[in-house]
């Protein structure tokens, strides 16, 4: 099998997990995932999702206009009212993923202004060097930057590393990086909402 062969099953699993964990009723949040096989690049993917699901979130619509046409394996958008979060996933099918692959993910996250990035290796885990580095230098997985000098605005990107088990169709956690589990990530996304919206969501 090739790396791309795993995209559909991983996309399906991620969408299911996010929908289940963030908003089981589907009333407060919208979660959509798409992979490179269906959208070619990030910009086209966003356009497809906005049209297909009649998304009205103006901040996402504006974001999509300037989104770069970079080839991302899988990405997901989680929309709350007029706010959204972008998660991108870099899929690898290697004996072990290392700094090279993590660097690629970091590059995509910075280029796309993604809020979250997950490096997912299929049926294998991480190189010893990557494990050491992520244990000793945790900050690598929590990047805060100022995209426009002098604006005072910052963008924070959190990264995690996970594995995909093809035989069981499960995401397996590595406990490396700032995203330890999908449920924790979903919880963090909820908590990053404006407080009133969060209250409303929790009171659902």
């Amino acid at each position: 099998m090739k790396e791309v062969d795993f995209y559909p099953e991983i996309t399906k699993e991620l969408e299911g997990l996010f929908r289940s964990n963030i908003d089981p009723s589907g009333k407060t949040y919208q979660c959509y995932f798409i992979n490179n096989l269906d959208c070619v690049n990030l910009k086209k993917g966003l356009d497809i999702l906005i049209e297909k699901y009649s998304i009205k979130c103006s901040s996402l619509i504006n974001f999509a206009k300037d989104a770069p046409a970079i080839k991302i394996d899988i990405f997901g958008i989680i929309i709350f009212g007029d706010s959204f979060k972008l998660l991108i996933c870099e899929i690898k099918y290697l004996g072990a993923v290392g700094l090279t692959e993590l660097s690629q993910l970091i590059g995509y996250c910075i280029a796309s202004d993604a809020h979250y990035g997950i490096l997912i290796n299929v049926d294998a885990s991480e190189s010893t060097d990557l494990v050491k580095m992520l244990v000793l230098k945790k900050a690598i997985c929590d990047i805060v930057r100022t995209p426009k000098a002098g604006s005072g605005d910052t963008i924070e990107t959190k990264l995690g590393v996970m594995n995909w088990q093809h035989d069981t169709k499960n995401l397996v956690y590595s406990n490396l990086g700032e995203i330890r589990s999908i449920s924790a990530l979903c919880n963090e996304m909820e908590m990053s909402l404006p407080i009133e919206e969060l209250k409303n969501a929790k009171g659902k």
Binding site: G16, L17, R19, S20, Q165, D167
Partner: protein
């Protein structure tokens, strides 16, 4: 509280195998893999199990609760050993009304837990945790042939609520159990009230195709075993039938003294059950064919036998049974003798013949008399496997008739239609009579027409 997908899987593991002691900072998850997970029998599978615990369960527990896991393997037993601060886990379970004490699957009430599984994905994850612990995929789990593989969720103990809730959860997802075996004497000892070893646990059996299409496993060894077993179906696809559309299989069930066992919870205790679905209806499962069961119970005398349907024993033990029973010891027995050939001839003419009939539909069923003779002959020849004939009963009897057609057996026939004792000089068989019109008088139906209480007869019942 809404249970997230990671919690749901962990909860499934803990409900399926959690064992808690006095140390609040540790617990174990028992994996009852026995032969299936034996390192000696299948080292590759044992390796996969260890890898799944270290590679999948351990990081999950660490990321969600900060609890560290390792595995322990003793002959026939696997454990996931969990160490760390369990206060968060205990609080979550307490919020669900579940105290983390002792062997959880024997005590846990999971109604609230299931109510808080808000999505099919969360339910799927909970079931995966259960499947990884107590979901048996042994090759013997099948319906008649390899073309119908089963996953059997198996619980020991007497937690009827757990078996019911798991079964109901599966049914609510369209995974209707092919069969549910209850841990009850009427299920495990339906023909023999003197069979004490009836505490065999619960089995909720679902077609594996259907489970595999909806559910999953986190353990690679389970996923691979499921794939291998399904491959043996040679392309046959099996579907479960909704509980209320399935035909109800009825056979006579004898009254067992353990129907009043203190192990059994209300409302099961004291009840006599005619089939698997009878339990579902009494417990109140919305998927149960309740009206069909009520109809069946209107003619309960046809399905209840207050005597052993068949009991095989030594002659000394059989005599002890008769002399110790308040009713049996009032009976007076006459001794008749019949040859093997005579009985076999009657059986071959009419396999539903009732011996020593005292009225319509009453008498001792010839098929059980023949089964009893086979036991006596096999016992004499050393051809028993436990109390069953090794190999074909038909062949054994044919050979015996050919060799010794005039072999005689003693038939102890009582004055009242009750128990027939057939014996040689070492062993004996007790066969109970069919007598539906009398037995109808021995049953009482309570609790919305669903709880059947059956008693043994007295001499007075025969005189009315």
């Amino acid at each position: 509280m809404s249970i997230n997908t990671d919690q749901a899987y962990i909860y499934g593991l803990i409900i399926g195998g959690g064992l808690f002691g006095n140390d609040s900072n540790s617990f174990v998850i028992q994996l009852p893999y026995k032969k299936w997970g034996s390192f000696e029998k299948n080292p590759a599978r044992a390796g996969e199990i260890a890898k799944s615990i270290v590679g999948c369960v351990k990081p999950l527990f660490e990321s969600i609760y900060g609890i560290t896991c390792s595995y322990e393997m003793n002959p026939g037993k696997w454990f996931i050993s969990c160490v760390g601060n369990t206060s968060q886990l205990r609080k979550e379970f307490a919020d669900l009304g579940i105290g983390l004490t002792t062997e959880l699957r024997k005590t846990a009430k999971i109604e609230k837990l299931i109510d808080n599984l808000d999505t099919d994905v969360a339910k799927n994850r909970f079931l995966a945790g259960l499947a990884d612990t107590i979901g048996s995929l042994a090759e013997s789990q099948r319906r008649f042939t390899n073309k119908f593989a089963i996953i059997s969720f198996e619980f020991n103990g007497f937690n009827y609520d757990l078996a019911y809730r798991v079964c109901r959860l599966l049914a609510s997802l369209g995974l209707y159990p092919d069969q549910i075996e209850w841990n009850h004497p009427n299920q495990q000892a339906g023909q023999d009230p003197y069979y004490d070893d009836w505490k065999k646990g619960f089995k909720v059996r679902v077609p594996l195709d259907e489970y595999a299409a909806f559910g999953k496993f986190a353990f690679s060894a389970k996923a691979h075993a499921a794939k291998d077993v399904i491959a043996k179906q040679n392309g046959q696809v099996n579907h479960s039938i909704p509980c209320d559309e399935k035909p109800i299989s009825l056979s006579n069930v004898c009254v067992h003294p353990a129907e009043n066992s203190s192990y059994l919870p209300a409302p099961i205790k004291g009840g006599h059950f005619v089939c698997q679905k009878h339990y579902c209806a009494l417990i109140g499962c919305p998927f149960a064919p309740t009206e069909k069961i009520k109809t069946i119970l209107k003619t309960a005398g046809e399905h209840v036998v207050p005597f052993p349907i068949i009991h095989k024993d030594t002659l000394a033990n059989a005599n002890e049974i008769v002399s110790a029973d308040d009713f049996y010891k009032t009976l007076s027995f006459r001794n008749d003798s019949y040859s093997l050939k005579t009985i076999i001839d009657i059986f071959q003419q009419n396999q539903r013949y009732l011996m020593f009939s005292a009225g319509p539909e009453s008498g001792y069923p010839i098929n059980y008399v023949v089964q009893g003779l086979a036991y006596l002959i096999a016992s004499e020849k050393g051809l028993l496997n436990g109390k069953r004939v090794s190999g074909s009963q038909t062949e054994l009897l044919a050979k015996a008739v050919a060799e010794k057609p005039d072999q005689m057996f003693t038939f102890k026939v009582p004055d009242l239609l009750s128990i027939l004792v057939i014996c040689d000089d070492k062993n004996a068989v007790i066969v109970g009579a069919e007598n539906p019109s009398l037995y109808a008088k021995l049953v009482t139906i309570t609790e919305n027409g669903l709880k059947l209480i059956a008693r043994k007869p007295t001499r007075g019942d025969y005189q009315e």
